[in-house]
Symmetry: C2
Subunit: 368 residues, 2 copies
């Protein structure tokens, strides 16, 4: 293999496919990037068997071939190269890297040892803009669980229903739901995608409003296609939680409040909560204002935020971090928060149900 | 105590004095900041017994007093406050923090438990600009040793001799020397200042060419005074190394080379050196160019950099990191590097001896 590419194209492609490279594996081939210049294009591929990412880069091919190289060292070398053309030249199982005055030789691995992406028929997919997909992921991903003991909670539900695309994540204390209307009509579908895949995709996506992502499904895999990149991920097996039954539309008290004001206030309260501490903040809802209090071993805070309230007075306790995460994921200037009773979840949702953040309360009578 | 200060003044002062606050100590008072508003000024003070920093902040005093507060929580709260006036109000041993809508109460400690800075007579000191002092520190500090087994190597020598201020650091493999001519005449002096003090000072210093730092000495302490800040540090006890005998001015070979070109090249070579690995780079000095080679388990590199050479051909091996550190600390476009023989240190120094970086070679015949 003998190819020439620009440093910036190569750096960019490496950073994309590296998301699918294992950093510590017993199989060293999983720590490699495959450079494949056997066909018409130059392709880079990373594959940790859960997630595979392939991207095409422009360049010239003098001699076809392929090689797998250790991702960490290849990436470190390429990043330090001058901003010029990079010549890659495979001799046997080593790869020569030449750029400006720099000349490296590093060992490679036979490309045939590398696992390719599974073949997936690109039929019956959906289209959504890069911007929308990234936005939906970023505004829900934070409430997946990082505890592997319940695998399903470490994934995100992607649901297509009646022309809407919906993402859902939950961790046992809260649920984050975002949805957007699709252009065109699609079959209904429910799949659970690993949180790491979603998070990696949101980092790779350019976020262009005009550019489309196509998403295709098989019973075991999901495929995302955008720009010159293809991402294939395994799905999480099994039935996702039936969240509909947890979403009440009844409420006793509703407040409408300036989002930034209440966010800043609750965010400050988190300063008084030590890692691992379970101290709640207590919201006292009354006519015209919410009083927000917290008292921990580090100190106490007591603030008042103005609001419009309908319904009855209520005192209810929360883990402040969960409210902060939800309020940060909303763009609206004013938010509506619905309360049922001090033992039932509250809902932060908009009228059109484009978002619905559900947060379970904390029992505070026993902790203060 | 009842005082009002702006958030930005307070944040700035906290970040300065926090450099002298212990983060983990068995004495919790060392983890505190003292707020002292008993005199004419409002002062913040941090003191971990090795290093003490006091800074004055503008503000209004309604009621005199003082209190010590946990630096971590106080600093976290203040950073999150809105950009407005901060009202601090001590009641008993708690301190109320009020700013905009934010209202916190945190526990404090009796200010009398706090250790004040030692009294130091401000006589017989030296003056140097903030810029110069910071520059001298930044360009020598990297070669102190972080190994406590030789205490003297963890400090920097500050020497005043014949109207020059000189800083020296060394770690057994290299020596970094920088000097600058002082305005005015001063007594000769040699003190060894802990590396942490020097590094903290370089971070606090504004770096203004026009502003002066005054430095005063006692047999046990050094005091730096600049802006509204006073830094007092213990000195390291004992005699510093006699470095003069290590600085040969004889040489066999001298090369003059573009600094950035050789720096970039050696810097790339460090990519092939794993942490803890002792693989040297090998410089082959010949007429008109230096060939730079490295071969490790990760791969190999072989580059040529043009140079002007006087003297004889030589092959010599180095730890590439040490050359990189020295070359980064130099601003000149071209550098002169002097070699004696493959077992003796090389010197990167300018004609005026404003800088002299000494690097010991590595024996490479046994490693390749």
């Amino acid at each position: 293999m003998k190819i020439t590419v620009t440093k910036s194209d190569l750096t960019n492609a490496i950073s994309i496919v590296s998301k699918a490279v294992s950093t510590k594996s017993t199989m060293t081939i999983l720590e490699c990037i495959l450079i494949d210049a056997r066909g018409q294009d130059i392709r880079l591929l990373g594959n940790d068997m859960e997630l595979g990412i392939e991207t095409v880069i422009p360049g010239t091919m003098e001699e076809k071939g392929m090689i797998a190289v250790d991702a960490a060292i290849f990436s470190a070398i390429v990043r330090k190269l001058p901003e010029e053309e990079v010549h890659l030249n495979v001799v046997g199982e080593t790869i020569g890297i030449r750029c400006g005055k720099a000349r490296f030789t590093i060992p490679g691995r036979d490309g045939r040892d590398f696992t390719r992406l599974p073949e997936i028929d690109k039929v019956d997919g959906i289209n959504v803009s890069e911007y929308t997909l990234r936005d939906l992921i970023n505004k829900t991903i934070f409430s997946i669980s990082d505890n592997d003991s319940n695998k399903m909670m470490t994934g995100e539900l992607l649901e297509i229903q009646d022309g809407f695309l919906k993402l859902v994540s939950l961790d046992g204390h809260r649920i984050s739901i975002r949805r957007v209307e699709l252009n065109g009509s699609y079959n209904n579908r429910r799949v659970v995608i690993p949180g790491k895949t979603m998070s990696d995709i949101s980092k790779i996506l350019g976020g262009d409003m005009e550019k489309q992502v196509s998403i295709f499904f098989t019973p075991k895999h999901v495929l995302f296609e955008f720009d010159s990149t293809t991402v294939v991920s395994r799905l999480i097996d099994g039935e996702y939680f039936r969240i509909e039954q947890m979403l009440s539309s009844d409420y006793e008290t509703k407040i409408t409040v300036n989002r930034k004001e209440i966010l800043d206030c609750i965010d400050r309260a988190t300063l008084l909560v030590k890692e691992g501490d379970k101290k709640p903040i207590i919201l006292s809802l009354s006519e015209g204002n919410v009083e927000i209090k917290i008292r921990t071993t580090l100190g106490s805070m007591d603030e008042v935020v103005e609001c419009t309230r309908t319904g009855r007075d209520m005192m209810i306790g929360f883990n402040p971090k969960f409210l902060v995460d939800a309020l940060r994921a909303i763009d609206d200037e004013e938010v509506d928060i619905y309360f049922v009773n001090p033992k039932a979840p509250c809902f932060i949702r908009d009228a059109g149900e484009n978002y619905n953040y559900v947060v379970l309360p904390v029992n505070f009578t026993t902790v203060d």
